[in-house]
């Protein structure tokens, strides 16, 4: 077997007059790429749980940047700037701590605890309130961009009813993996003029329970959320203040970059092999019994473009 048979089509040993692809595109070779990718996924999974400092997600979240980016988006839409409110930031920090403690990732906890509970327990009596969540983003700008790209989160970001904002970005372990959670809470304090009517702007993706105040479009009587027992909000030592808190995580190997680099390299390798194979067969008018090279090429190119634009960050 010559070296060029690994890359170029060559005669089929069993079917006279037919050619087959280069050996690097034969079924055993494709199966070995599958094994390689499986091993990669397994390695990422094992190292991320056992050695997060070696293999994890690089994070650089600056709360001042989050506030500035949020207000910049609001200014671009002719809206008032939001003021950082310590109570909302405490509520956000408490919500993040609660998610880590009870291992969930949602607006409403499995035990029914809602975002409004954290806000009121922090001492912030709201007329309007909202919450945005994000996890596993690399930097502040990406978090705000993700929220702006989601209609429900964008509605929160650009809601003219809000006057205050609070943030928390906290590193911890969720589902066994090192994770950075970002909690953004919005509010407008209750004033005496509005005591008879306390609607809540709830823009979470899942519908709030029936006991929750109704959305602004359907004002409800002044009902405060029912509070679950025994949750004390303890202000964090590093209580989030605009401009002072940087949440950073710098593992030896950033999983997101490594995975993207390796998979795109493999995709490029296969694309080049199929392109060489296709051009060679076309120029030499070879008869072959194989899949459509054009279709494979289109699939691989689309996959590489898709992977290039993937983002491991999640919002809810």
């Amino acid at each position: 077997m010559s070296f060029r048979e690994h890359f170029l089509p060559h005669s089929h040993p069993e079917i006279l007059g037919h050619h087959q692809r280069g050996k690097l595109l034969h079924a055993p070779a494709l199966a070995s790429y599958l094994l390689f990718l499986s091993a990669l996924l397994f390695t990422f999974s094992i190292f991320r749980t056992s050695l997060p400092g070696v293999l994890g997600f690089a994070t650089n979240i600056n709360l001042a940047d989050l506030v500035a980016s949020t207000n910049s988006e609001r200014a671009a839409h002719g809206l008032n700037a939001l003021k950082v409110n310590d109570q909302l930031s405490q509520a956000a920090a408490a919500k993040a701590a609660y998610m880590f403690k009870y291992n969930f990732w949602a607006h409403v906890a499995p035990d029914g605890t809602t975002p409004w509970y954290f806000i009121t327990t922090a001492g912030y009596d709201y007329r309007y309130a909202g919450e945005n969540l994000a996890r596993d983003f690399g930097d502040s700008a990406a978090v705000v961009a993700a929220w702006m790209n989601s209609p429900s989160h964008r509605e929160n970001m650009l809601n003219p009813n809000y006057t205050d904002i609070g943030f928390a970005a906290v590193n911890g372990t969720l589902d066994g993996y090192e994770t950075t959670l970002v909690v953004q809470m919005f509010g407008k304090p209750l004033t005496p003029n509005y005591l008879a009517n306390i609607p809540v702007q709830s823009l979470q993706t899942e519908a709030p329970p029936a006991k929750e105040p109704a959305p602004e479009t359907a004002p409800a009587p002044a009902v405060k959320p029912e509070e679950p027992p025994k949750l004390t909000i303890v202000p964090l030592d590093n209580s989030p203040q605009a401009g002072t808190l940087l949440v950073e995580s710098v593992p030896a190997v950033d999983v997101a970059s490594a995975a993207r680099g390796i998979t795109i390299t493999l995709g490029l390798f296969l694309t080049i092999l199929f392109a060489i194979d296709g051009v060679y067969a076309w120029r030499h008018h070879l008869l072959r019994l194989s899949g459509s090279t054009l279709a494979h090429l289109v699939l691989l190119v689309l996959a590489m473009v898709g992977i290039w634009y993937t983002n491991v960050g999640v919002i809810v």
């Binding site: 079924a27 999974s45 589902d175 995975a259 699939l299 689309l302 996959a303």
Partner: protein, 82 residues
């Protein structure tokens, strides 16, 4: 006939691409969209090669293996926990 087949393939991949972009920031949904698109791709391969009278087990195996490679590439890039 080939034009029809390749138009169907273009539709499958285009739909997958649009849905993939639509669900940006929801990696789990994106991964399901990739799996669905690859499934459509393999079925397209079966249909195309049947119509061309070149329906062989090793040809379909090629589509399946390449499809799985693409799925695992996305699983790694999207940080999907299998």
């Amino acid at each position: 006939m080939r034009l029809v087949h390749y138009s169907v393939l273009a539709f499958i991949l285009l739909l997958g691409g649009i849905l993939f972009l639509r669900f940006q920031y929801y990696p789990s949904y994106q991964f399901l969209i990739v799996v669905g698109t690859v499934l459509g791709y393999v079925l397209w391969g079966v249909s195309y090669h049947k119509s061309e009278s070149r329906f062989l087990r090793r040809v379909i195996l090629e589509y399946l293996l390449l499809g799985f490679v693409v799925i695992l590439m996305f699983a790694a890039a999207l940080n999907i926990r299998l």
